[in-house]
Assembly symmetry: C2
Homo-oligomer: 303 residues x 2
Amino acid sequence: MTFTVFGTGAVGGYYGGRLAEKGNTVHFLARSDYQDIKEKGLTIQSPKGDIYLETPSVFNTAREIPASDALLIALKTTGNANLKDQIAPLVHKGTALIVLQNGLGMEEEFQSWFPHNPVLGGMCFICSRKIAPAVIEHQDYGLMTLGALSPDDLELRNRVGALLEAASVPVTLVDDLHEARWRKLLWNIPYNGLTVALNCNTHDLMTHPDSRHLVRILMEEVVEGAAACGCTIEAEAVDKMLSFTDKMTPYEPSMKLDFNYTRPMEIEYMYDRPLQEASSRGYEMKSVSMLRDQLKFIQNRYL
Amino acid sequence: MTFTVFGTGAVGGYYGGRLAEKGNTVHFLARSDYQDIKEKGLTIQSPKGDIYLETPSVFNTAREIPASDALLIALKTTGNANLKDQIAPLVHKGTALIVLQNGLGMEEEFQSWFPHNPVLGGMCFICSRKIAPAVIEHQDYGLMTLGALSPDDLELRNRVGALLEAASVPVTLVDDLHEARWRKLLWNIPYNGLTVALNCNTHDLMTHPDSRHLVRILMEEVVEGAAACGCTIEAEAVDKMLSFTDKMTPYEPSMKLDFNYTRPMEIEYMYDRPLQEASSRGYEMKSVSMLRDQLKFIQNRYL
């Protein structure tokens, strides 16, 4: 099975790097880093073992990339409005679209663009970031939760999962992709938004009682929102997620890094879509909505 | 009727200044500004006419101030925990306590400390600030809404109101002080908190659609909270308050100035007390609560 990584950043570079390290054919699409990767190779610093790809198959335009069996879509969702046209040259008969983005509703959108291609979703529980051109620092974790949009593609999901596992990526296979997306939001919605709104990291949020209370309130709303959308997240998941985050090294989530570097934030897929879906089922996530409004204000004012 | 201004800042200095200008006996208690006022007098720059008190009756300790008929209590509520002992030397038989502070529940607290003294509440709709030691800049407005905690003191309320009116202070007399306090919160809760949480002024809040939406959501919750507490604020008050603020010169409310100058913020009386009162009547102001938590985080982290 051959892969193309669409977006060689902290996430795409890491997972693509692991697959390439194991000997899989992996093409990398890069933009700002293209020249650096071409000249110096791709470096991934990781507590689970550093990776150095001396001569990766790197491209700066989609049209030149050879056909591959699967696309790992690892660009930020802020670019999704233009993504259909950008990936079209790479989507052939049977090409699997594996969506490694954060948020809700991306897989359904990809499926609507390419109705005959299999669509998988991968939720990446990873702390990683780009620390220099062509250099990714993997800080911690790395589990990928993998599901298929259609039950027809469970076999494909299993094959992709097995290849990732073989490349030292822990994988959890899930049957309900929609529910898994909501479960990921349980972490993403409070921590991404609050670290931006309060200009802090996860440790700050957890150690101040008032922000910790905010995290809990938001999580509880996400649980209710998910339930309205038919996804049961057990109530204990909130406490589990809180203690998990207690143990994390102080961390700035991706949206906080976007804010730091004055890049657009992933508000639409991480906040608007879940709010819309829950609202359409009759549940208003009021605190999530308030956080979303604050993020949009910050986005418009500073980014 | 003689007055003592307890706290010669942007509010106490202005109203006390107007009363003194008109020839009323007014004693001023000042702290950091004491020496400056003593040496240079008290200056109030105002579009409604500048005031210069060359030799005001100024003190830096309560014990030296002669007995007066009324105290204008114009310190921030952040100091209320110690206020009982501080004003005790000035509270004689019949001394009226006129509370010019922002928030909810102050008058009841003063009454509990001094059960036999009349307590009035004055809501000051004023844009003013101290721009230098002994110099207050009155920017706009100045209406005082005046009510009595007990119906026994309506006559006193009328007398105080008449003296203020005679001193060029527009006064609205209200019969329901509790309701008037909630009406003031309709403006104070959204604008004070959001200008801090989003680090901006009123104009910024009104011109970005997302923050404008937040202001409206918070106001609507205050209307509901007030209703739960038996205070009817008509729904149109929200739109009226929004268009009033649209017309204001861009303004940083008092809490934003406290934030700018890293002073404690008036979270307890402006947020905690209304939240508690509404909650005790069965209504949770969820968005107000979220804003309060954010303010407490900011308070603990930066101030």
